[in-house]
Symmetry: C2
Subunit: 197 residues, 2 copies
């Protein structure tokens, strides 16, 4: 096995696990289905992840973390004004969710909820992802002129609101929760922003 092939299998396992966990959570992801869809073997799974499914899940959460961070960064970059940027981000999430027939929700949330009090390493990986996304949001808000503490606190609420709205959008098969959340978040952020000139 060449190094390139080895990396390929590891990446396929991680990406497949991330997608399956995004669609149904950790418990809904049977290891055999995962290995099959990744075109891998149980042997290669345990070669790359001696801790098995849970160790792979930690890597998959880290992958989902980076993937969503990329979407967040490019989405927020579209507008200079933080309120407008947050509203556009919510629409972007609604677009992606609708295009996936409401399946491509947050790659972390379902697994995060399943992990609480049960799987500490997985819970920690989920906490790290949320913290990373908050940092990106806080940086955007601070760059738009908000005070550091306001930016950090608003980043927390912006992310949590979008997460909750995404769940509602999936369950209701509707863009409305995200689109309305975006409008409300823009309004909230605007109450902190310096007056627009």
């Amino acid at each position: 096995m060449t190094t390139a092939t080895a990396l390929g299998t590891r990446d396929r396992l991680i990406r497949t696990a991330s997608r399956l966990m995004q669609h149904g959570g950790y418990e809904n992801t049977p290891i055999k289905q995962l290995v099959k869809e990744a075109q891998a073997t149980m042997g290669s799974l345990y070669h790359f992840f001696p801790g098995g499914k849970q160790e792979l899940a930690v890597a998959a959460i880290a992958y989902g973390d980076e993937e969503f961070a990329h979407m967040l960064t490019s989405g927020l970059a579209a507008y200079r004004d933080p309120a407008e940027a947050v509203e556009a981000l919510a629409v972007l999430l609604a677009d992606a969710l609708e295009a996936s027939d409401w399946l491509d929700g947050c790659p972390v949330t379902t697994t995060a909820l399943e992990s609480v009090g049960r799987m500490p390493e997985l819970q920690a990986a989920c906490a790290t992802a949320f913290a990373h996304w908050r940092e990106l949001l806080a940086a955007k808000l601070a760059a738009g002129g908000l005070a550091g503490e306001d930016a950090r606190e608003l980043a927390l609420t912006v992310l949590n609101t979008l997460e909750g709205a995404e769940t509602a959008a999936q369950v209701d098969r509707s863009r409305a929760p995200l689109v309305i959340a975006g409008r409300h978040l823009a309004r909230l952020v605007s109450t902190y922003s310096a007056p627009r000139t």
Copy 2:
């Protein structure tokens, strides 16, 4: 078997399912553990719920719906002003979550996310619960003087923000996401309210 005993067993199954699903979701709730903790038998489970675990889960979601609706109604009744009521509700949720060592989160969200695109009846029960809670919130906001459409849209965002903040609070084992969300939601609601006199 008397009617009282029969009702007792059915209720115990529903309450146990609701609690286990609140703590880990539908997939994390093994049917054997559920029956054991409910002090029931597999026979009584299938007697009351011929559709098995999934039919019981639908009843458990309806139970969690009513339980949280009760908390929501009494929490919101504490303050006449809708902004203050929403902020107090967030603190109430933080109190309950912390008191349960961060386990007693939303009785619906984890199962809702697991059900999307997989278990339509369960997904519908979760959608019904969310819609019920939004109605209660919208009624409070409208009673506080907000226009009907504003109240309905804000109710959607208030619930989604609290849901997302509750997830973050559980994962981070911290009151901060909920307490901060409550403060931000009060601020948002206040921008719609008539000026306080």
